[in-house]
């Protein structure tokens, strides 16, 4: 069942980013950085991995100091996140049952 976990999403920071994006219309770079409590460079690295997997798309609006980078989850990303979430819940649910029997 561990094999059902998506290795791209499973990294804690990427999982948190996908969880937030899965319930949002989109999220700006500063918002993700603040909510995940990570540095600019770390967030860039994590989001690049998700973008390379086709799980998120990046949008840049404006120019110069007023420019904003936003991320939006893609349909394949949403599906992958749901599968990962279900796998995680199933593993822990099974583990909980095993522990109580």
């Amino acid at each position: 069942m561990i094999a059902d976990l998506d290795p791209v999403i499973h990294a804690p920071k990427r999982l948190a980013a996908m969880a937030l994006l899965a319930v949002s219309t989109q999220a700006t770079f500063p918002t993700l950085r603040e909510r995940l409590a990570i540095s600019d460079s770390d967030l860039s690295k994590q989001m690049s991995a998700l973008e390379a997997a086709g799980y998120v798309e990046v949008r840049r609006s404006g120019r110069g100091r007023g420019s904003v980078t936003s991320f939006r989850i893609t349909d394949p990303g949403r599906a992958a996140y749901r599968r990962h979430r279900e796998a995680l819940e199933a593993i822990l649910g099974t583990a909980d049952e095993a522990a109580t029997t």
Binding site: H10, P12, A16, A19, A22, T25, Q26, A27, T31, A95
Partner: protein, 156 residues
């Protein structure tokens, strides 16, 4: 993939916290917001009674509350940074509260419409303003309390 049960439990906690974040980590709008809603509701009723000779100007006036609402939503979405969207993952107490908000606004709309037909905008506009303002003030207060509670629960 070397993953212990503790790691998975930690991952699930982080995942649930992140899923909750767009709903409970939001910029508070302050005391002005219910008053703005009240003014908007009064304007919405008022513009329906404005009759101008110029058709484009008439259209602009009638659409102005809608355009104002869209501009506000756009501003708030930027300020929020991650506006919630997936209703299936909306925390139940907040989903219930949202249903009460819409029911309250519908009741205000019906009352304002009845007042408009019976008396006119002199009654319907202030009624819409008072009703919408009170409903939104109550909603904002309840939302903040529920969001605080949910945040504490997930961080415990």
């Amino acid at each position: 993939m070397e993953t212990s049960r503790t790691d998975l439990e930690q991952a699930r906690r982080e995942m649930r916290r992140a899923e909750l974040s767009p709903f409970v980590d939001y910029p508070r709008l302050g005391a002005w917001y219910p008053f703005a809603w009240a003014a908007w509701a009064a304007a919405l009723v008022g513009v329906l009674h404005v009759h101008l000779d110029s058709a484009p100007l008439q259209l602009l006036v009638v659409l102005s509350p809608t355009l104002t609402a869209l501009a506000f939503l756009s501003w708030y979405a930027r300020r929020h940074g991650a506006l919630p969207r997936d209703r299936r993952l909306t925390p139940r107490p907040l989903a219930r509260l949202a249903r009460l908000l819409w029911a309250g606004q519908l009741a205000v709309l019906v009352a304002a419409f009845a007042a408009d037909v019976a008396v006119g905008p002199a009654l319907s506009a202030p009624l819409a303003a008072l009703g919408a303002g009170l409903v939104v003030a109550w909603y904002e207060h309840r939302y903040a309390a529920i969001a605080d509670r949910l945040r504490r629960e997930v961080e415990a």
